[in-house]
């Protein structure tokens, strides 16, 4: 049985700026089922990051609401949602292990227990040999892995990711995608993944939400009916190509509008 873990209802966000009100998001509604992998794509500035911040509870909606497990989000809920951004934002003076354990230290978890969890997660993301390395000693991809582990450390059911692999080179990016799918399958999290990469979005997701701009809204929901596990060959399949072209066209039209 599957159930909704994220529900967005008539969500709007208006920024007040010097030039007047700016409608960043206009009446968004959608829901994500438990264990789902949903990507969001859309032209730059359409409000993807704004949406993610609203889901995280970092921003307050102007109207409408975000429900997680049926409860309205009003502030960050780290025990329910883990987050990850384009920048790993690891604390440079802490080791990989300490960085992963950082969210636990904020809520006063027992030190031994935190350490154990951090190590297990670093092993899960393939960094078992790097627990004592500092961020400056890790590659960009490794840093993002540490950030994934940190996002999982409080065992949230949901992982919210804003262009997490955008700063990585293509090969690393593809590898990280594969790894994320593996982690997703292992941990059965619900993932919301924002990206500019159409191939990445289709390859990873069950559903791709395409956003339009001015004001930001969802213009199409594209189900990805490809079997799992996904393979590299699927990228050249007819279905994949069609879906990709469809999204590309939608975003082009929006960007020109």
């Amino acid at each position: 049985m599957s159930s909704e873990v994220i529900r967005v209802e008539n969500l709007s966000k208006v920024y007040s700026t010097r030039e007047g009100d700016f409608h960043a998001l206009d009446k968004l509604s959608f829901a994500i089922e438990e264990g789902g992998f949903v990507s969001i794509v859309g032209p730059s500035g359409c409000g993807k990051s704004t949406l993610l911040q609203l889901l995280t509870g970092l921003l307050e909606p102007t109207s409408g609401q975000v429900l997680i497990d049926g409860i309205e989000v009003r502030k960050p809920l780290p025990e329910k949602t883990g987050v990850m951004f384009q920048d790993a934002t690891l604390l440079p003076w802490l080791t990989a292990e300490e960085n992963v354990a950082f969210p636990l230290s904020l809520c006063g978890t027992d030190k031994k227990e935190s350490q154990r969890r951090a190590r297990d997660l670093l092993k899960l993301v393939g960094l078992g040999d790097f627990i004592n390395h500092r961020p400056a000693e890790l590659s960009g991809g490794m840093r993002q892995r540490v950030a994934i582990a940190r996002g999982l450390v409080r065992d949230p059911r949901i992982l919210l990711m804003d262009e997490p692999f955008a700063a990585l080179d293509e090969q690393t990016r593809f590898k990280m995608g594969e790894e994320l799918l593996w982690i997703w399958q292992e941990t059965r999290k619900t993932i919301l993944f924002i990206t500019h990469g159409l191939t990445e979005a289709i390859y990873l997701s069950d559903t791709v939400l395409v956003m339009g701009t001015k004001p930001g809204r969802i213009i199409e929901v594209i189900p990805v009916d490809l079997p799992r596990p996904r393979t590299f060959e699927m990228i050249s399949s007819e279905f994949f190509g069609k879906a990709r072209n469809r999204i590309w066209k939608l975003i082009q039209e929006e960007a020109e509008a």
């Binding site: 970092l58 960050p76 780290p78 987050v83």
Partner: protein, 251 residues
């Protein structure tokens, strides 16, 4: 022993040797530079008075540090994190810093007298501004994405501030502490020279009027040692907190 410190000791030894040589050959007048024996004589004659003076100066510096550090860091941190006012606050602090505090010294004497209080006050004012300014700019430059991330991870405002922002601003705070502490030490000694009844600055100024060059140099030497010791302690503090910055290459 590392190579740079070897070189440093070699230079020091060479200077001392030069001092012996120059004074023994009487290339300079004893009143300009006394022979090492002159300092020894001064120490034997007035050693305990010099130790008292040193104790007073050290205490004034310590108290000024204990006030100026938290005050400067506190003010800088508060104004640095209030985005709306930090630019204005920085400009105001900057222009106040540019006012030479020495012109206010007569006022301090009028307010709190010629005793140690006026030296501490003078030192605090001299040290406060660079500490506050550096802390402010360090806090202001912290990348907003760290704050966002910390909040998303469930950090309270206080935790965001202490565990993330202040820690990221630390290199800047420490450079403020270095400048501020140097100014505190200078200010305390100079103000003792200007008007006081004690301290190393007083000893230097008093004996200068007496043409006791040996005493003057002994006072200078002790003031120098004090400054060097404090600087050494500060560099220990700095290297303790900056270990993580330098290790980037050893992967």
């Amino acid at each position: 022993m590392s190579k740079p410190s070897l070189i440093r000791y070699a230079i020091l030894l060479a200077l001392i040797a030069l001092w012996f040589l120059v004074t023994a050959m009487e290339w300079v007048k004893p009143i300009q530079l006394p022979p090492p024996a002159g300092l020894w004589a001064a120490w034997q004659a007035d050693g305990s008075r010099f130790l008292d003076a040193f104790a007073l100066t050290a205490a004034e510096i310590a108290v000024a540090i204990l006030i100026a550090w938290p005050l400067g860091i506190g003010v800088g941190a508060v104004f640095g994190s209030l985005r709306a006012v930090s630019a204005v606050a920085s400009a105001i602090l900057g222009s106040l810093f540019a006012v030479p505090a020495i012109i206010l010294y007569p006022l301090f004497i009028a307010w709190v007298g010629m005793g140690p209080e006026s030296k501490v006050l003078f030192g605090v004012i001299a040290g406060f501004f660079p500490i506050a300014l550096n802390t402010l700019s360090g806090v202001r430059q912290v990348d907003e994405s760290y704050v966002t991330m910390a909040r998303a991870m469930g950090a309270s405002r206080l935790q965001v501030f202490y565990r993330v922002v202040l820690r990221l601003a630390l290199p800047s705070v420490i450079s403020g502490l270095r400048i501020g502490t140097a100014l505190i030490m200078i200010s305390v000694v100079v103000s003792e020279m200007l008007a006081s009844f004690g301290g190393l600055g007083y000893m230097i100024a008093y004996h200068r009027t007496m043409f006791d060059t040996g005493h003057v140099y002994l006072g200078i030497l002790m003031a120098l040692l004090t400054v060097l010791t404090v600087n050494w302690l500060l560099s220990m503090l700095e290297s303790h907190f900056s270990k993580w910055q330098e290790r980037g290459a050893d992967l």
